[in-house]
Amino acid sequence: MSATLVSQPSAAADRLRRGRNYARRYWMFAVPAAIVVAAVIVFPWIFTLFMSVHDWKVTGATPFVGLANYAKMLVDDRFQWAILRTLYFTAASVIAPVILGVWAAVCFSAKFRLRGVARTVFVLPMMATPVAISLVWTMMFHPQLGVLNYILSLAGIPPSAWVYSSSTVIPTLVMVETWQWTPLVMLIVLGGIASLPTDPYEAARLDGANAWQMFRHITYPLVWPFIVIAAVIRMIDALKAFDTIYVITLGGPGTSSETLNILLYQTAFAYYDLGYGSAMVVVFFVLILLISMLLLSVRQKAV
């Protein structure tokens, strides 16, 4: 091969140059996927915008109503409460998993016996089928027969109403969300810790720094960008949380755990008000996008 390269340098160079020009033609590889993405992802986005300015029920005429669906949200108490509830649920479901996830990542980055097994077990909650684990949590929350109140009674703590009282339902759901999604934060931060240089730690150890000092002054500042990414991903997922809330409480008791996603489901598929539901989707999407961008700008400022 090298012989041909030497004997015909111009032809080879020519072919190589053509190879570089292929860059544009690599698009062809993405065409089939692009068509499918356009059909199942982009088309729904556009059609949602279209429906959101119409009075669209499943049957009957679908008159154009302009921004009436959006105006309705401004006076819809149930929608506004759902937004507040979603923000409350999301804030708690970001903070708790991020703190626990960073702690877990620091622990799992140390070497110890059976680390692989422990890490796999730790990751299981996020891989398990959400509906299945939600049903088991529901049984555990049972006020009289549930195992959780029994455990509380062993510790001398009075029984909790868990998801059966409007004051404890959201903290309880946050607990389930934290149990389920702390592993994802751990994995992302662990990936960050794995990429760190080892020299600063050795220097710190020689200077007699303890574990907390090394975390506070070396790990934490270096891993900060990964923590922010984990927090943004966690926030997006918490805003969108559906399966666990739907299965465990269906938004109840009353509407005390009705987040935006649950209200959206009810509006579109229980009341079949597709126009109003679509307008909610648009607002929901903008909300997610704004909060994500806000958090990412925090990251840029901090670095």
Binding site: L16, A30, F112, A128, T129, I133, A268, V281, F284
Partner: protein
């Protein structure tokens, strides 16, 4: 000097104890949860509703599992889930692996942003328009709408994982193939794709798991006979007010394949999740 060494050793010992204690604290919620799930599934009804709770099934019974398959059409739902998840994963690989290659090679970051926005969008927002579309096409009540909507989950996962993998491959080998007169398709098919096999495995496992676990699309689009397992467990069992044993057994049946896959392929799964933070729905 000896005092100093003793102190150092003590500190190291305390650190080890703290580490093991932390790890124990971190994994016990998961361990206890799944043990309790198994305990519920393996006990008879009297033990399941006893107070104080019975922790260890004595003797363990498989009657709950028999119940699940005998009293419901669970075999059909299992087949539905298998068809939907395998089709959605297979189609996503067929579409997504070349797409990931094309995007990585053309350095088309804008296409990656589109995938990222798809990741941000709540699953419900695809459902309203697609529900109308499938109704209009008369496809509600078949498995086709489920396979198509599951592509919303699987295609972005595959593309996302594959972009990362193809970007990490050295370009020299394909360039050599191109110099030798291979077409770009051949360079992809015979050079890049075999090298990216570990990436394809990661993408396949993650796409399959998140498709298998999906609930939201099925709950809207599935009819009585086209339910996938998660929908079936929720709909059939909770509406019939079935007792705890069979319910826990059914939940275990639904999630067992995913848990087994995670235990067997933990290295691949951890690699994939760390890279992308992917999750469907």
């Amino acid at each position: 000097m000896t005092m100093n060494r003793f102190e150092q050793r003590l500190r190291r010992f305390a650190g080890r104890v703290g580490l093991y204690f932390s790890v124990l604290m971190l994994i016990s919620p998961a361990v206890l949860f799944f043990l309790w799930m198994a305990s519920l599934a393996l006990k008879n009804e009297a033990d399941n509703t006893a107070y104080p709770p019975v922790f260890i099934p004595n003797p363990p019974t498989f009657a709950n599992f028999v119940d699940v398959f005998a009293k419901n059409d669970f075999l059909r739902y299992t087949i539905n889930s298998v068809i939907v998840s395998f089709s959605a994963t297979g189609l996503a690989l067929l579409l997504g692996v070349p797409a990931g290659y094309g995007i990585a090679k053309a350095k088309a970051t804008k296409a990656a942003v589109l995938i990222m926005i798809a990741r941000i969008t709540p699953g419900l927002s695809y459902l309203i328009p697609l529900f109308l579309l499938f109704q209009w096409l008369g496809m509600i009540g078949t498995l086709t709408p489920l396979v198509i909507t599951h592509l919303v989950i699987t295609v972005p996962i595959v593309v996302w994982v594959m972009i990362g993998f193809f970007e990490g491959l050295p370009a020299e080998l394909e360039e050599a193939a191109l110099v030798d007169g291979a077409t770009i398709w051949q360079a992809f098919r015979y050079v890049a794709m075999p090298l990216a096999r570990p990436g394809i495995t990661v993408a396949m496992i993650l796409a399959f798991i998140f498709s298998w676990n999906n609930f939201i699309f099925g709950v809207v689009l599935a009819g009585r006979t086209t339910r996938t397992l998660p929908v079936a467990v929720y709909n059939v069992l909770t509406f019939e007010q079935i007792s705890w044993g069979p319910l826990a057994a059914a939940a275990l049946v639904v999630t067992a394949p995913v848990l087994l896959l995670t235990l067997l392929m933990q290295k691949e799964i951890v690699a994939g999740l760390t890279a992308g933070g992917v999750k469907g729905g």
